[in-house]
């Protein structure tokens, strides 16, 4: 009976036993480093940061259980098979055994990532949570050039582009887009799918540069995984709105490479059984490859006409659907077409553009808005507004149709604010945001008839605060005003009483006044005192942890206030300097 013993140097417990370095892991799994990296990315195994790094701080540590988990992965076998296959092919070629090499090339082993995705995301909601990174990566690669050196093939880029367009078509068809923000890096979008907020970033329509300090092999591995994931997500989403996936596109539009338009025609015509065959996808690929630089996405026009109502639409979706309803847009040549198409149709508008395959021409009489970005524009049609593209994005973020006066051609645009920032929380509200809020309030007032204008500020201050029409400071001011009014009322009533009682009023005016003031003061004081007492009571009853948290909150609030004050002083200074410079 062999005595069980631990080999010399192997630890039994503690951090040394629980974590192993990367080289140890590679040796344990008996694979090469590149295969190990790919496997880690596919399986979602990340290096960890143990408290005690046994083999030195310059090493990367993995948990032993993670590595054991990797060991039982069937993909490992596949990778080894592929490695062996490659060796066989190389041997056959070098021995000048052509027919063997050809025979082998037909039998290349492949692998799929379906089981992995199922393992990592057991429910659909988990996949939605991880969709941010996936979407951003796929959109990025759809815009990258195909560089032979880094092994990025054109076919993969086309595939990415197809996936991203399918996703965009779904979002705009179901009106799930909520926010859009143009920044220097690109355009941020946020959509809400099945209760989950998905944020992603699309690059601008520039030619992307490949910086040298990025490891593209790793990016391509991530891309492989995310492509599969997005494919499955799209499949499920399309099945949920009862469409076939992968979508089969109109060949004429494919020939013009108007992908998005073709997609939405497909999405729209779900009832028609378009005879599909495998050749179509190949045709599409070939045509797309020919027209790579001149890809033009299409419009989601017909979509709006045959809308199949989903009964499970929530309020927001309905609000978004009706924003640009019955409004027709025309895009100039110099504006970012793809993003505008996506955004406008997601909010119910009808779009066209210049070029082949467009739904309608520039001279169409129904067009309400023409989006241009030139310094001057001769207004050839009087019935339509000529606006700059920022108007569309600002409308979307504000959820109302803003007046086009400030966005006309050639004007200096108001600042493009970020919808991702909660102005209330920051405490600082930029000027333009306030104007937007007033407009929103105006729009809402049109919809809901209100009895009086001024009184609302005082009486329904809390309601208005809750609706976000006025901000907290204004609400506080309103409340103070209300309080003062109440105090004045009380005073008035008291004076009336005294008049009724007799002439005692005139004899002790000072005292009464003082008393009243005192009362007022005491009222104020008592109210303040009450507030303070409440605070103290709660502070005493809280546990130490909660008290510390409360204090930390107070400190951060104080800091924010200080920030706001500095910003306001800065604004004042700028205005002062403007005035002095103008003078």
């Amino acid at each position: 009976m062999p005595k069980h013993y631990r080999p010399a140097g192997k630890k039994k417990e503690g951090n040394a036993a629980r974590y192993m370095t990367r080289s140890q892991a590679v040796k344990y799994l008996q694979v090469s480093l590149s295969v190990f990296r790919r496997l880690c990315i596919f399986k979602g195994v990340f290096p960890r940061d143990p408290k005690k790094k046994v083999k030195g701080t310059h090493q990367t540590y993995y948990h032993v259980k993670d590595i054991l988990f990797l060991k039982h992965e069937p993909l490992l076998d596949k990778f080894r098979e592929m490695h062996a296959y490659e060796k066989k092919v190389k041997k056959a070629v070098s021995k000048k055994n052509k027919d063997l090499a050809e025979r082998l090339l037909t039998r290349k082993p492949t692998y799929t990532l379906d089981m992995l995705i199922r393992e990592r995301y057991p429910k659909f909601i988990d996949a939605l949570r991880d969709l941010d990174d996936c979407l951003t990566m796929v959109h990025l690669f759809a815009a990258l050039p195909a560089i032979e050196r880094e092994n990025i093939q054109a076919e993969r880029i086309h595939n990415c582009r197809g996936l991203s367009l399918e996703w965009q078509a779904y979002i705009s068809r179901t009106h799930k887009l909520r926010k859009a923000f143009i920044s220097v890096k690109g355009i941020y979008y946020q959509a809400e799918v099945e209760g989950q907020k998905v944020t992603w970033l699309t690059p601008h329509a520039l030619q992307q540069v490949m910086p040298q300090d990025v490891d593209y092999k790793i990016m391509l591995t991530f891309l492989e995984f995310y492509e599969t994931l997005l494919g499955f997500v799209n499949l499920r989403l399309y099945h949920s709105i009862k469409l076939k996936y992968p979508p089969i596109l109109d060949p004429r539009l494919k020939a013009l490479a108007a992908d998005l338009y073709a997609l939405t025609r497909y999405v729209d015509a779900k009832d028609r059984t378009i005879g599909a065959n495998n050749e179509e996808s190949e045709l599409r690929l070939a045509q797309l490859q020919d027209q790579l630089p001149a890809n033009e996405p299409g419009a989601l026009m017909h979509l709006v006409e045959n809308v199949a109502d989903d009964n499970e639409e929530d309020e927001e979706t309905r609000a978004c659907k009706t924003l640009f309803q019955n409004k027709t847009f025309f895009l100039g040549r110099e504006v970012p077409r793809e993003s505008l198409l996506f955004v406008i149709t997601a909010f119910g508008g009808v779009v066209s553009w210049e070029g082949d395959g467009a739904p309608f021409e520039e001279s169409n009489q129904d067009i309400n808005y023409q989006i241009v970005d030139r310094p001057t524009q001769s207004h050839r049609f009087i019935s339509r507004d000529y606006v700059q593209p920022q108007w569309v994005f600002d409308c979307i973020n504000a959820r109302i149709i803003l007046p086009t006066g400030e966005y006309m051609v050639g004007k200096v645009l108001p600042p493009h604010l970020s919808p991702f920032v909660d102005n209330e929380a920051e405490g600082y509200v930029p000027e333009y945001a306030e104007t937007i809020k007033r407009l929103q309030a105006a729009a809402r007032k049109e919809i809901l008839p209100m009895p009086g204008g001024e009184q609302d500020d005082l009486e329904n201050a809390q309601n208005l605060l809750a609706e976000g029409i006025i901000d907290r400071t204004k609400a506080k001011e309103a409340a103070e005003r209300k309080q003062k009014m109440a105090v004045h009322e009380k005073q008035y009533h008291q004076e009336l009483k005294k008049e009724m009682q007799g002439m005692q009023y005139t004899s002790d005016p000072n005292i009464d006044e003082i008393k009243n003031n005192g009362e007022e003061n005491t009222d104020d004081m008592s109210s303040q005192q009450l507030v303070k007492d409440d605070e103290n009571m709660t502070m005493v009853s809280m546990s130490r942890k909660k008290r510390r948290l409360y204090e930390a909150m107070k400190i951060s609030q104080g800091r924010k206030k200080a920030n706001v004050e500095t910003l306001e002083t800065r604004k004042k200074n700028i205005q002062k300097s403007k005035k002095t410079s103008s003078n």
């Binding site: 979602g44 990340f46 290096p47 310059h58 990367t60 540590y61 259980k65 988990f69 000048k96 995705i117 199922r118 057991p122 429910k123 659909f124 990174d133 951003t136 990566m137 990025l140 923000f181 143009i182 920044s183 220097v184 890096k185 690109g186 941020y188 944020t199 970033l201 690059p203 030619q207 992307q208 540069v209 490949m210 910086p211 040298q212 300090d213 490891d215 790793i218 990016m219 499955f232 499949l235 499920r236 099945h239 996936y245 992968p246 005879g275 065959n277 495998n278 110099e334 504006v335 970005d373 700059q388 920022q390 645009l413 600042p415 493009h416 604010l417 930029p430 000027e431 800065r570 604004k571």
Partner: protein
């Protein structure tokens, strides 16, 4: 005279050890012809005598004129044949052979044509029968795959081929997936972080100033760290030219050091040698008793001291308790601070995972003069790949490497 000349030249040819002919030698050579017969050379019947090598006349016998003769022959031949080869242009001597009709077969190709014995054995021989082997794991797997393959690729009713994509979230309970034993810690940093409003393409002035301040602060921090860093030791130092005299001094210094060391060693050795004849003194009983008494005394003193300290501590017990309490409080506060600081740090950058530190990407903010307010003229960021890569590093999924830190 003519006969002497012949003799001398023959002599020189025979003793051709010394080949260097100087001008003086040549002169001497000439003077030989006019001088009288040398006395030191005497011929015996046996041949050359062992005469002394010293002396001009004896030395002249060892001169060989082979070089001069060769030169004269060569130049006369060149003159006869029309110029020396060194003056001819290389074009007339050499030409580049660009003809391709020569088939150059590399050695390795010649070797490859030969069929190896291994391969010839492996080629199929109908007389050899295959031995039935028991099914291995790989072949079992293959069989399973083949069984599964035809069932999945079914053709649907309307003639469209199912591309094989099935909704994997459809049948939830079919394959119960094992949960991982050690799950990854939740990553606090979101995958796509939306930039602050100052990074908008047309920002409001206040938020723009904010973002600019951030970017400027980062840059200034880098500049300051570079400046305040201690200057690194240079690899090479420019040296001064040392005079020849100084070199002698240097050498002398080196030598003198060596001498001094040697001398010291010697002196030490001498001192030891001197001391060794004296033996160590014997320790007497008196000395031993004295030592014991001293030891006792020291012990007693140490004990009393200890007692004194103890009583002092007892008296100041509450103070000690207070001190301990304060220390504990400070420690706990410090611990809390560290924990909170670590959590805060985790929200903005990853823990140290390898050799290199994480370098966050610079804030993409437009400079004040670049804000045109027009989407068409926007100087957009064209290196979005780097943004994705840095996001992966920031979340701790990728380990930063030397290449990713450098620009």
């Amino acid at each position: 005279m003519g006969r002497e000349r012949e003799v001398v030249s023959r002599r020189i040819r025979e003793h051709s050890t010394n080949k260097i002919l100087t001008r003086s030698v040549l002169l001497g050579f000439r003077s030989v012809f006019s001088a009288a017969t040398p006395d030191s050379i005497c011929y015996t019947a046996m041949g050359k005598s062992k005469s002394s090598r010293k002396g001009k006349k004896a030395w002249r016998t060892n001169i060989s004129t082979q070089d001069i003769d060769d030169f004269y022959e060569k130049s006369s031949k060149d003159a006869l044949s029309g110029g020396s080869l060194t003056e001819v242009p290389s074009d007339s001597l050499f030409f580049v052979d660009k003809s391709r009709d020569l088939s150059v077969k590399r050695k390795i190709d010649k070797c490859r044509e030969k069929v190896l014995r291994v391969d010839s054995i492996l080629q199929k021989n109908s007389f050899v029968q295959a031995i039935p082997s028991s099914t291995t794991k790989k072949s079992k797997q293959r069989q399973k795959e083949i069984q599964r393959a035809p069932s999945s690729s079914q053709v649907r009713k309307d003639g469209t081929m199912d591309t094989g994509m099935v909704d994997i979230w459809n049948d939830e309970g079919a394959n119960a997936v094992k949960k991982r034993k050690v799950s990854n810690k939740a990553i606090l940093i979101p995958a796509v972080e939306v930039e602050p409003p100052g990074c908008s393409y047309n920002p409001s002035s206040e938020s723009h100033q904010d973002s600019l301040a951030h970017a400027v602060a980062d840059e200034m921090q880098k500049v300051y760290t570079k400046e305040l860093r201690p200057t690194p030791v240079p690899l090479t130092v420019v040296g001064e030219v040392v005079d020849v005299e100084d070199m002698y001094f240097l050498d002398a210094d080196n030598e003198s050091d060596g001498d001094v060391e040697d001398k010291e060693v010697d002196s030490n050795g001498d001192a030891d040698l001197e001391k060794r004849p004296f033996k160590t003194k014997r320790v007497t009983r008196v000395e031993l008793n004295r030592r014991a008494r001293n030891k006792e005394k020291l012990k007693m003193e140490a004990e009393t001291k200890k007692l004194k300290e103890f009583s002092k501590d007892l008296n100041s017990l509450p103070d000690i308790i207070n001190e301990i309490a304060k220390e504990d409080e400070e420690k706990s506060k410090r611990h809390l601070r560290r924990v909170f600081a670590k959590q805060e740090r985790l929200k903005s950058c990853p823990p140290r995972l390898g050799r290199h530190k994480f370098e966050p990407a610079p804030v993409q903010v437009l400079l004040s003069e670049e804000i045109t307010g027009s989407l068409r003229k926007l100087k957009a960021c064209c290196t979005l790949a780097r943004d994705r890569y840095k996001s992966l590093e920031k979340r701790g999924i990728l380990v930063p490497t030397a290449k990713s830190g450098r620009k």
